[in-house]
Symmetry: C2
């Protein structure tokens, strides 16, 4: 099966490979990402992972605690990046609409850069944990919701938006983001382009936009940074 010559020169006097292009740890990482996203956590065996990575089984246990540890290492990277994105956005200023647009676009971009990991996250967040160890995806999701709500409220206070319940507007926006993610996951060949996404988000935001020329309703504009 594996074309990997088991005669890994590693021994033998003559130094065999000039330098492995990717070290074993990185190869394990890539192989596991690929397999977990294609087959799921439980359905992927460590044997498959190490074979795809071209290493032997104990190597996996040398670099990672075990199968769970490998999974956790995979997920944590993306989770931290997402958290940092929201954190960075919390400090931003400017028109609420622009902030929402750029937030969504950046989330979508992060998502596209980590499709395999996100597919695993999605399937575990919405579906059953496939024997995979617990990870608090919910915390991140909630942090995102809260940030979005804050920007929406600030936009309303600044007279930029007009809507009844903040949650309604929030869900409408999240719906657009979800759809873009869904298409990316299930039909990457017809994935929404950035202009597509902007148009659809614009459509929804137009439903909460204050009428053009509406009075800037900045009532005390509390908390809104200058």
């Amino acid at each position: 099966m594996s074309e990997t010559k088991k005669t890994t020169g590693r021994k033998r006097a003559a130094a065999p490979p000039p330098a492995p292009p990717e070290d074993a740890r990185a190869r394990l990482f890539r192989a596991a990402t690929e397999l977990f996203q294609n087959k799921g956590y439980a359905a992927t065996t460590v044997r498959e992972v190490v074979e795809a990575a071209g290493v032997t089984k104990p190597v996996l246990y040398y670099y990672f605690e075990n199968k769970e540890g490998l999974y956790l290492a995979l997920m944590r990277g993306v989770m931290e990046e997402f958290e940092a994105l929201i954190e960075a956005h919390s400090a931003r200023t400017g028109p609420a609409r622009r902030r929402i647009e750029s937030l969504c676009e950046e989330v979508l971009d992060l998502f596209k850069r980590h499709v395999p990991a996100v597919r695993i996250m999605y399937s575990i967040y919405y579906g059953p944990p496939q024997g995979a160890p617990f990870l608090d995806f919910d915390r991140l999701h909630l942090a995102f919701q809260n940030h979005l709500k804050r920007v929406l409220v600030e936009g309303r206070e600044a007279g930029e938006f007009r809507f009844g319940r903040t949650e309604d507007a929030m869900w409408a926006v999240i719906g657009v983001l979800n759809v873009a993610q869904e298409v990316e996951l299930c039909h990457p060949e017809t994935a929404l382009s950035l202009p597509d996404f902007r148009r659809i988000l614009g459509l929804v935001l137009s439903a909460v936009a204050a009428p053009a020329g509406a009075p800037v309703n900045r009532r005390r504009s509390k908390g809104v940074k200058p």
Copy 2:
């Protein structure tokens, strides 16, 4: 599904249970649904299923071909119901907005009545197949999209809606439905009520609604049933 009382007549001289209220097949069905949704297909063992159903292993293989067959039987019921719903809606008439609202509400209702099965479907549709046999969820999803697009176009032709690209409007509507489903799956305790859902859908539909009192743009109104 079929409540056909097999009346498991087999009772030893001293019948331990007075009478099983549910026959073995139905109990297996229920147990598998519960376990698959809680642990995932691959992470659920047939031993767990039969134990939860209170039967022995060969009973499962007596009623179903194997683990895969049990899974397929589970999914097919919901898929057929969904398909029938879209079929039934294709024949409906009336204002496009009402049709979209009732379609979404009925889909959401079907969804709520089959949360366990849908959770499995979701996690496999968006995520990796967990070693589960292939099922063409995509066909159903596409059928739904096409129906929705048709109603939207009819609504525009009738002067009820005004939007640029049909796909944009479709995705915006689907986004709302997705969000409602997402909340149902991940936070059933704060699931959107029907009024909540109607408000949010109304918000999005208001973005594609033709201005009040706009001329009814029925240009040849081709294909629109009277």
